[in-house]
């Protein structure tokens, strides 16, 4: 099976997103430049972290208009698994594949640190191999990870189990102290109504080997490999 890692000008998490599925999991991956219009038969799409277009205007605001995005949207609409990590999550929010928006971290500081991330739902392709309630130790590196959605949207997300990850302490409690950026309801990641599009601010792809401090992120990628193996590889033609 093949992972597509979309590269925008200013993406810097693309190599980590490529390394994890290939070197750690032994799967295939391919870089797709943002100006391409085809995902070339990928089974999974990763939108990596970084600072696409320098975060100019708003994070992800310009990347959402990239030529590759209609193909990403079609892939998502057809049920293909899409994971937006950090800036990738911001791009998914800006293009409307996920609801809500990101604000500046409440303390106006860039947070680069390990945090606890609780898996609240295992019924997405990216959490299928995790345990509900499992707390992953993952790195974050963001200045705008303060998730916001208007009250009615937030209610809908909660009611429909679309909050996939929450910031939590080691005991799994979603305290304010465990929340690095002020995200509403300690939200660290959400999914689309179809559950195949997931956005998360923490970096699972940067926590796939103990040598870098945590291998807790591996389960996110293992999940999608497992989910697709069960389903039979999904080839999205573009």
């Amino acid at each position: 099976m093949k992972f597509a890692v979309v590269v925008f000008p200013g993406s810097n998490g693309d190599h980590d997103a490529y390394y994890a599925p290939t070197h750690v999991l032994g799967e295939q991956a391919e870089f797709i430049w943002h100006k391409d219009t085809s995902l070339r038969g990928a089974d999974v799409v990763l939108l990596p972290g970084g600072f696409s277009h320098g975060d100019y205007l708003r994070t992800g605001a310009i990347a959402r208009f990239s030529p590759i995005m209609p193909a990403v949207k079609a892939f998502a609409d057809a049920g293909g698994p899409v994971l937006g990590i950090c800036n990738g999550f911001q791009i998914l929010l800006e293009c409307g594949l996920l609801p809500g928006a990101m604000l500046r971290n409440r303390d106006v500081k860039f947070h680069c640190e390990f945090v606890g991330v609780r898996v609240d739902r295992t019924d997405t392709p990216f959490t299928a191999a995790a345990r509900e309630g499992q707390v992953l130790r993952l790195p974050i590196a963001h200045g705008e990870g303060n998730y916001y959605a208007p009250p009615d949207v937030l209610d809908e997300l909660e009611r429909n189990g679309r909050v996939v990850f929450r910031y939590a302490n080691a005991a799994g409690e979603t305290t304010d102290q465990a929340n690095p950026n002020g995200s509403l309801h300690n939200i660290a990641g959400i999914c689309s109504a179809g559950r195949n599009v997931v956005g998360m601010m923490p970096h699972p792809e940067r926590a796939c080997e103990l040598a870098v401090g945590s291998a807790d992120g591996l389960v996110v990628l293992q999940s999608v490999v497992q989910a697709l193996a069960k389903r039979g590889a999904l080839h999205a033609s573009a």
Binding site: L57, R58, A61, F65, L93, E94, P99, G100, A101, L103, R104, N105, R106, D107, V108, N146, Y148, A149, P150, G182
Partner: protein
């Protein structure tokens, strides 16, 4: 014809930057500044567009790109000096 677009966070959205600026002003002795909200200002040079066309175009651009309607609202002003 130049159009000016002012983009601000919706009142219901917490503005960490504005809050930080207000705190900074307070520490400088400007205690009478009750609150600060930070926004964005864009100036669009729309060439020879008529006022009506300039307003329409600026509004469309503001709604589609310059502002994020989930968290921001905007207003458009025209500046007739070329």
């Amino acid at each position: 014809m130049k159009a000016r677009v002012f983009v601000t966070l919706k009142p219901s959205v917490f503005d960490p930057q504005g809050h930080t600026i207000a705190e900074a002003l307070h520490s400088l002795g400007y205690g009478s500044v009750a609150d600060v909200r930070q926004g964005k200002f864009f100036e669009l040079d729309l060439g020879a567009a008529s006022p009506a066309e300039a307003t329409r175009l600026a509004t469309e651009v503001a709604d589609r790109v310059l502002a994020n309607p989930v968290i921001e609202s905007f207003r458009v002003e025209l500046n007739e000096t070329a």
